[in-house]
């Protein structure tokens, strides 16, 4: 396997449970936030985004919550599946430049 995610915080959940991955950001000027999923041996894949004028956005099985007061972003995955096992990164954008957070490794137990 690849070395991505070896030293990252790990969240372990049971298949079928909901997962919540958290991220703190630092730049008050960021206008756009994105969650990426990175599977072993692949590049980051876009999951869902949210603009700074929103506090919640839902996709298929995923929800992103944005709390600008405390500069906190979360990704909720409903009914977590084995295929959700990956490293998840949040990213913030300011002036079309992305800055990535540290990442969380999600492990789904069957």
């Amino acid at each position: 396997g690849e070395s991505v995610g070896l030293h990252l915080p790990t969240l372990s959940v049971q298949e079928g449970d909901n997962s919540i991955i958290n991220c703190a950001y630092s730049n008050s000027a960021s206008d756009y936030f994105i969650w990426y999923k990175q599977e072993s041996g692949k590049g980051p894949q876009f999951i869902i985004d949210i603009r700074s004028n929103m506090d919640k956005r839902q996709g298929q099985r995923v929800t992103v919550l944005l709390n600008k007061t405390v500069k906190h972003l979360s990704l909720q995955i409903a009914a977590t599946q084995p295929g959700d096992s990956a490293v998840y990164f949040c990213a913030e954008r300011d002036s079309n430049m992305l800055t990535f957070g540290g990442g969380t490794r999600l492990m789904v137990k069957p």
């Binding site: 991505v4 990252l8 980051p44 894949q45 876009f46 985004d49 990164f89 990535f100 957070g101």
Partner: protein
């Protein structure tokens, strides 16, 4: 969306040599970026590749070490020069099709320097 390919997908190189990584996109894009992802870590922006002019480097990265070319709207190269084991990383190409639109990533090039 954009389909991004990178060559090589992985390589093992000797200390002191250089490697050029290619990034090809299936459509014209506005912006192209190069990122580094060191083992077990997040992504760090190396530079923005500018068409027809010198790349814009982030703090800690210099042109002599990471020369970048972008001859057109669909292709860019990143060279890792005079490599050392500390350069062992995944190098990722990323693109934005239109300003303020979604940013896509290539599959990465996994470099190991011995």
């Amino acid at each position: 969306s954009a389909v991004i390919s990178q060559k090589p997908s992985r390589d093992i190189c000797q200390r002191g040599t250089s490697l050029t990584i290619q990034c090809q996109v299936d459509s014209q894009v506005t912006m192209m970026f190069w990122y580094r992802q060191q083992p077990g870590q997040s992504l760090t922006l190396i530079a923005t590749a500018n068409q027809g002019s010198e790349a814009t480097y982030e703090s800690g990265f210099v042109i002599d070490k990471f020369p970048i070319s972008r001859p057109n709207l669909t292709f860019s190269t990143l060279t890792v020069s005079n490599m050392s084991p500390e350069d062992s990383s995944i190098y990722l190409c990323s693109v934005v099709i239109r300003i303020f639109s979604e940013q896509f990533f290539g599959p990465g090039t996994r470099l190991t320097v011995l």
